[in-house]
């Protein structure tokens, strides 16, 4: 039966995606950028919307929430997956509300005042059936996909507003967003880049070789030399794995040291992060991998660092530049508060 086939195919795809995520996390598989993960998650969600059996919005949201929980459990450190799930949930709510005919403003304008005084969840439980809901939701997800595809370009277009000529820019590790940002600026301006290699995986090496191929003056330094060299740096531009709700970062290890050194020398710290990295979490549980090399020694290898928002100067995202204190507001536009916990 075609329905059953579609369902098995769907679950196969979900399984494949989950195993891909798990492999990426352990470092054995090909390292994928967050943008790819976001795109794949969104297309998978679109497929679920199209092929799963549901009759009203509430059912669909249940299905997506369930799949979303499975996917985030597979790789907790990859928060983009959870973010996309939340985006899709918000899309469903919006489309449902639009189909019902209620105005958009009532739902979207969640000012702090309203959050305090409204209290309790909204009265409807999404049980009404609308025929065009499916098509609308799929169309909205397509728009989301287009937005995702353009994020890197949107960010790179702002490069020339932030980099002047003969600057010395420091970065750490490898971020595709920052790479595109700098390469775009290098087409018109001449500047130097110092890359901290970020041991033990040394992703900085790849970044340096790819930047130098575009004729950008690049220098690779070991992590220990970050503070020593910082006094000659004009700007620090970094990417991140996640942007937290308070404006802080969860970024690759070594970023906190870099941020402290930049603060000491009063060097601006700019974070290039597309909006899909914004996550409602505030906690900063470190992810570590333990290994016992000698019986009496513990070795720690944390993967991420928490950087508090006081050390960050500016966020550059696909919707423009923002201060860290504004991040909470952007959060409310992207996700519905009830979806913060999947």
């Amino acid at each position: 039966m075609p329905g059953a086939d579609k369902e098995t195919e769907l679950s196969e795809r979900i399984e494949a995606f989950l195993s891909e995520l798990k492999r990426c996390g352990s470092g054995a598989g090909s390292l994928r950028g967050s943008a790819e993960t976001a795109r794949e998650t969104t297309s998978l969600l679109r497929r679920i919307t199209a092929q799963a059996r549901w009759s009203n919005a509430g059912d669909l949201m249940e299905i997506i929430r369930k799949e979303g929980r499975r996917m985030t459990a597979g790789q907790p450190s990859e928060t983009t997956v959870g973010n996309m799930v939340r985006r899709v949930l918000k899309i469903i709510r919006e489309e449902y509300a639009r189909s019902r005919g209620s105005t958009e403003e009532a739902d979207q304008q969640e000012s702090l005042h309203k959050l305090l005084t409204s209290g309790g969840s909204s009265e409807d439980n999404f049980r009404q059936h609308f025929t065009h809901l499916k098509a609308n939701v799929i169309e909205a997800i397509n728009e989301l996909l287009t937005e995702l595809e353009g994020t890197t370009d949107n960010i790179s277009m702002q490069a020339l507003e932030h980099i002047h000529s003969n600057e010395v820019i420091m970065t750490i590790g490898r971020s595709r967003t920052v790479e595109a940002f700098l390469k775009d600026a290098a087409r018109k301006r001449k500047f130097h880049v110092i890359v901290a290699e970020c041991a033990p995986f040394c992703q900085g090496h790849e970044m340096a070789t790819s930047l130098s191929k575009e004729d950008i003056e690049t220098t690779v330094i070991p992590d220990a030399a970050i503070f020593a060299v910082m006094s000659r740096v004009n700007k620090v531009i970094i990417g991140t794995q996640t942007v937290l709700a308070n404006g802080g970062l969860r970024a690759v290890n070594g970023t906190h040291t870099l941020a402290l050194a930049a603060k000491h020398h009063s060097t601006p710290l700019i974070v290039c992060a597309p909006m899909f990295k914004l996550s409602p979490q505030v906690s900063d549980t470190p992810f570590t991998r333990f290994s016992e090399i000698l019986s009496k020694v513990n070795a720690h290898c944390p993967v991420f660092d928490y950087v508090p928002p006081e050390l960050i100067t500016l966020f550059i995202s696909n919707i423009g530049g923002n201060a860290p204190s504004y991040i909470y507001r952007l959060m409310s536009e992207l996700y519905h508060p009830e979806d913060h916990e999947l």
Binding site: A208, S212, A224, F227, N253, H256, T257, A261, P286
Partner: protein
């Protein structure tokens, strides 16, 4: 015009003659060779003559310039030529020639009298106090140590790599040292004290420093056996350049032991005094060692001490007795300044370690390891976190030593510092040198550790012996540093090494710094063998040491 031309031509010829002589005098002075009385008188006369000629050259052309402003170029050009000729050996005679040029108003006789009086007084005071002849810590001979004289410091060669004139001077000096050792006229091919060439693309911020490759050792050009350089010095130089001996204490001790060997094998040639000749013999060795790897502050102080001891040997002392005395001096220096000092520092430091402490250390400092081992023997309960960094990974050696003792250790890389610091109660750091403005010069990464520790309010204690205190001042890690082999940064991960062909890519540079400076506001306490002092008291200790000597 013919008359003035003729005189000026004569003056120019004189100038070149004088310049060679002045260079020789300068080099001889700096190498500590004392001229005999007759030589000194002759040189004094020649200097006076030269000054007189120079002033005559300058005087009439200047007057002509003033009178005939229209036809300025002709007389002024030769006039500027002779001061320009003088500018070549100017760095060494900066004060003398500057003084001469600045005071055309005073009469020549007065100047000559002043000069003679000054030289006499300097010579008598120089009897007891020899200047440090080695290049990186040279300063003009001071009349008395307590007066605050303006010190005209010559910039060390190893931070002038981007200046071609300085490089040429060094090359000439090395050649001259080779020739001075060949007294008996043996025909030698090949350079004895080789000039090492730089390797690879240097980051533009550091183009004034050397960058050598470990793959091309400095002994490639030396003939075997080398007659100018003692074989144990050659061995020591190779050990330095390949990184076999690393760490400032280890390098100083190895240097002193090698000097003991050299003194043992030394025999005074006839008609020479041991106190003068031995110091001359040591100079090419020191040049060779600094070509292998730039001298550290501790090595510089040790060399100054040895040279002072050698020149203090009275001339009637017999050779065997003198050699024995020198060896005893070296032994006592090592014993006092390094071994006993570390015992004293351990005693102070152990007071600061309490039970239940979590101590963070960085890299491999022999002193800090010693302190921790001693504290463990005294039954203190603590555990240690060893922080390490690429590319040297010295922390692994420290880890090995501590675990062998039985201390509980944790190992992290420096990028995990923010993760591990909330657990830490104290940070112990070693130092390579303590500078006179209170900055701590140490392995690269130390300043980072101090910065993050300060942000988490963890106390930072620096342990350093007093023989590493140095009179230099520095505010950043750029001006005076050491660049290590850039190929060390290349690493293979997952079967791929991205930086393998970095030389072929034009705009890619690798930077492998060795040292960095930590500002004094990050350091809470410095533990020395004289006690526990704040960072800013370093010049006080230096002053006390100078008065003692």
């Amino acid at each position: 015009m013919a008359d003035s031309d003729g005189r000026q031509v004569d003056g120019v010829n004189h100038a070149t003659d004088k310049d060679v002589k002045l260079q020789e005098i300068a080099l001889a002075k700096n190498e500590g060779k004392e001229l005999t009385k007759e030589e000194k008188q002759r040189l004094r006369k020649e200097k006076k003559q030269h000054k007189k000629n120079k002033k005559d050259d300058k005087g009439p052309p200047e007057k002509e310039k003033e009178k005939e402003k229209a036809s300025v170029p002709a007389p002024s050009k030769p006039a500027t030529q002779s001061p320009a000729h003088k500018a070549a050996p100017a760095p060494v005679h900066a004060s003398e020639s500057a003084a001469a040029a600045e005071k055309p108003a005073k009469s020549k006789a007065e100047l000559r009298a002043e000069r003679r009086a000054r030289q006499d007084s300097e010579r008598t005071s120089k009897q007891g106090k020899k200047e440090g002849g080695q290049q990186s810590a040279s300063s003009k001979p001071k009349a008395t140590p307590n007066e605050l004289q303006p010190v005209v410091k010559r910039l060390p060669e190893h931070v002038q790599v981007d200046d071609p004139a300085a490089l040429k001077k060094l090359a000439k000096k090395l050649e001259r040292q080779q020739k001075s050792g060949q007294g008996c006229g043996l025909n030698k091919t090949g350079v004895e004290v080789p000039l090492r060439s730089d390797y690879g693309y240097k980051v533009s911020l550091f183009s004034h420093l050397h960058q050598y490759s470990r793959k091309s050792p400095p002994t490639l050009q030396i003939s075997i056996p080398a007659t100018v350089i003692h074989p144990s010095i050659v061995r020591l130089g190779l050990q330095y350049s390949q990184g076999i001996i690393a760490g400032s204490n280890a390098r100083s001790v190895a240097l002193l032991h090698t000097f003991k060997q050299v003194i043992q094998d030394y025999s005074t040639p006839p008609n020479e005094e041991l106190s003068r000749d031995l110091v001359n013999k040591l100079s090419p060795y020191i040049s060779f060692l600094s070509q292998c790897r730039p001298l550290s502050a501790s090595m510089g102080n040790a060399i100054k001490y040895i040279k002072k001891e050698i020149s203090n040997i009275p001339s009637q002392c017999k050779e065997e007795e003198a050699k024995g005395k020198l060896q005893a001096c070296i032994d006592s220096y090592i014993n006092e300044k390094i071994i006993l000092a570390s015992e004293a520092i351990s005693k102070y430091a152990i007071e600061k370690i309490s039970d239940g402490d979590v101590i963070l250390v960085y890299g491999c400092s022999s002193l800090v390891n010693h302190i921790l081992c001693k504290a463990f023997e005294k039954q203190r309960k603590f555990r240690v976190i060893v922080v390490d960094s690429r590319p040297r990974l010295e922390g692994r050696e420290a880890l090995r030593r501590l675990v062998k003792k039985g201390i509980r250790c944790t190992y992290v890389l420096i990028s995990a510092l923010s993760y591990i610091l909330p657990e830490v109660s104290k940070v112990f750091l070693g130092a390579h040198a303590l500078l006179a403005n209170g900055y701590v010069m140490s392995r690269v990464g130390t300043s980072q550790i101090a910065l993050v520790a300060k942000a988490y309010n963890v106390p930072v204690l620096v342990c350093c012996e007093t023989y590493k205190f140095c009179e230099r001042v520095q505010t950043d890690s750029f001006v005076s540093n050491e660049l290590d082999d850039p190929d060390d940064l290349i690493v293979t991960r997952n079967g791929k090494s991205h930086l393998e062909n970095w030389q072929t890519v034009k705009s890619l540079g690798l930077l492998n710094l060795v040292y960095d400076v930590t500002p004094p506001d990050f350091v809470d306490l410095v533990i020395t063998d004289l006690g526990m002092i704040p960072c800013t008291s370093v010049p006080v200790v230096l002053r006390v040491k100078n008065v003692d000597q």
